[in-house]
């Protein structure tokens, strides 16, 4: 059952028995978009027409960066001098985000159909799905779904008698957050350590095996069949906020709400409606303290800021934060914010790939200073030291945005909740703050 404010497009079959199988997907209109492109309206759907429709939808990258998908596809060269690749980023590991895991385990066919359509739009014959290594059930379900799609003639040679070819294979990562960064993912897919690449060249020009490549998120691909079937304009208008943010978005809601989970709501929904109506509000007797809106790498919102926040790319930008992956972490007034921040810093220190000095050293320093604060072993100037890392770690000093993510994830918490960090300096033992 859909919760209040949910508009289920990608999640239309969510919760049905055997939702991961091709029969359920087809019964709900699955692979109809592919038939429309290749059979029913085959003269209309040139590669450019597919890209234009996706542009019209205002679909933006659902992995976190929010880059317009149609535009990203249009960057691939039109010629066929080199093979082109369609890669799905299923390396979901942004803290607080778990929507892609549900899609992979419960609804893999939407992503697969979206990838085939991307292949047609980009003249690509090969796609790869890069799943994080921990997602074993998801990997099994995706493998089974690929087999079903081959058996039905949606994958392989001469798809639906069209003469078009698209092959799909899976790849399992092995435990590295950085591989969610698209160029690190490509390195990993080539069998190497996950070290992000210098850009330019961007993957659209030089991606997998040095060939033009698009890398898109699971949810992004899963939206594509609906856009083809019902039109880019229809999808764009599902958004209720800024027109530049089209469609619906999956939000992974965790933390101190009554009903955590994955919800699909229109972009532009007020944040408080999601928390208090869709997710049933906070636990009894508790007050909101803060919300991390889009995964741990997005700046935190205080309860006051969250009051007027809108869930679209523009609404979040107004508050100096980002929609990110839609990984919403809700913190009530029982939260020890210092410990919470330490956990995030511990994670980043563990996951820096080590390629660039400011990030490798900086993420460790952030963790070390927070460890001292947490142990009541810090001086008041340590908090300033922590904030001073900001200018030296991010700001283009590194190859990829990981260092910026550390800064955006940690610094705003320290700034907005500074008294609680200061209080730790004078305490001799840990007690939950916010009381």
């Amino acid at each position: 059952m859909a919760a209040p404010h949910e508009v289920r497009v990608i999640l239309q079959d969510f919760g049905k028995p055997d939702s991961h199988t091709i029969g359920v997907y087809e019964a709900g209109g699955g692979y109809k978009a592919l038939k429309k492109i290749l059979v029913e309206e085959k003269d209309k759907w040139t590669p450019d027409a597919i890209i234009e429709e996706v542009k019209k939808s205002n679909l933006r990258g659902r992995g976190g960066a929010g880059f317009p998908t149609g535009l990203k596809w249009s960057f691939l060269p039109k010629g066929n001098d080199k093979p082109k690749y369609v890669v799905c980023n299923a390396d979901e590991s942004e803290p607080g985000t778990f929507k892609d895991r549900y899609l992979l385990e419960e609804l893999p066919h939407g992503m697969i159909e979206g990838m085939i359509i991307a292949g047609l739009a980009l003249n690509s014959n090969h796609g790869f799905i890069y799943l994080r290594g921990e997602f074993y059930l998801g990997w099994q379900r995706v493998e089974a779904a690929i087999k079903e799609a081959y058996a039905k003639g949606y994958l392989g040679e001469n798809i639906l008698g069209s003469g078009k070819t698209f092959h799909l294979a899976t790849f399992r990562g092995a435990g590295a957050y950085i591989c969610g960064e698209e160029t690190a993912l490509l390195e990993s897919l080539e069998g190497k350590r996950g070290h992000p690449r210098l850009k330019p060249p961007f993957p659209a020009v030089k991606g997998l095996y040095g060939c033009p490549t698009t890398v898109n998120n699971v949810e992004t691909f899963a939206a594509v069949p609906h856009i083809i079937l019902k039109g880019g304009d229809w999808y764009a208008k599902l958004g209720v906020g800024d027109p530049k943010s089209g469609g619906t978005k999956l939000f992974s809601v965790s933390g101190h709400v009554k009903n955590p989970g994955v919800y699909e709501v229109p972009l532009g929904l007020p944040l408080k409606k999601l928390i208090y109506e869709t997710c049933g509000g906070l636990r009894e007797g508790r007050k909101l303290k803060a919300v991390v809106p889009g995964g741990s790498s997005t700046p935190i919102l205080t309860a006051d800021e969250a009051e007027n926040a809108t869930l679209d790319y523009e609404g979040m930008a107004k508050l100096g934060t980002m929609l990110g992956s839609g990984g919403l972490i809700v913190l009530d007034d029982s939260t020890d914010i210092v410990e919470f921040t330490y956990r995030i810093a511990y994670f980043y220190a563990h996951e820096s790939c080590g390629q660039c000095t400011p990030c490798r050293e900086g993420s460790r320093w952030v963790q070390d200073v927070l460890a001292r604060v947490r142990a009541h072993d810090a001086q008041s100037e340590d908090v300033d030291t922590l904030l001073s890392f900001t200018e030296n770690m991010g700001n283009g000093t590194t190859i990829c945005p990981f260092a910026d993510a550390v800064v955006m994830g940690v610094t705003p918490i320290v700034k907005k909740f500074r008294p609680e960090f200061e209080a730790y300096l004078q305490r001799t033992e840990a007690v939950p703050s916010g009381t």
Binding site: G96, E134, S254
Partner: protein
């Protein structure tokens, strides 16, 4: 010449590897896949398997060794039969994962990174969010997720795994 038996793929891994060879346009992509197969075979990546994978894929052993050390799921030493990965990240913390950590240490007498003397359990502090935040706190035991856990449920799970041996 040493007579010590060196690692090679089991028949199952061999068949999987041959299938994977047809799926990737360039062989280097097989490095990580091959390491997964090794670990499924023997539970970790023995030193001679690094050389073996390098030779099967056609890259330098140093390439393969570098990959093994980079990815946290690859183990360079044997670990316990059941790897208890307890999520240490933000959402699981909010929902009480500390109690799960205490439970493992109390019940099994091991700290993060340690293995029980009988070789049955390894306790891993999972830094990377498991993407189970909606049903936090969560742990992963080998391939399986266990969610919405309490110390009581975790104790029961450990007892069950002990019984299975």
């Amino acid at each position: 010449m040493s007579t010590e038996k060196t690692y090679q793929f089991s028949p199952h891994a061999e068949a999987r590897f041959k299938e994977l060879e047809t799926k990737f346009p360039q062989r280097s992509s097989l490095v990580i896949w091959a390491l997964h197969l090794v670990q499924e075979d023997v539970g970790y990546i023995p030193r001679d398997a690094v050389d073996y994978v390098a030779q099967r894929v056609g890259v330098a052993p140093s390439w393969v060794a570098g990959v093994v050390s980079f990815y946290s799921m690859f183990h360079e030493e044997p670990i316990g039969k059941y790897n208890l990965n307890i999520c240490y990240n933000a959402s699981c913390y909010l929902m009480g994962s500390d109690k799960l950590e205490e439970c493992v240490t109390r019940k099994l007498g091991i700290k993060p990174g340690e293995t029980t003397p009988d070789g049955l359990f390894t306790y891993t502090r999972q830094a990377e969010c498991l993407a189970a935040c909606g049903k936090a706190p969560a742990i992963q035991v080998n391939e399986e997720y266990y969610e919405d856990l309490t110390p009581e449920k975790l104790e029961a799970l450990i007892d069950e795994l002990k019984k299975k041996g």
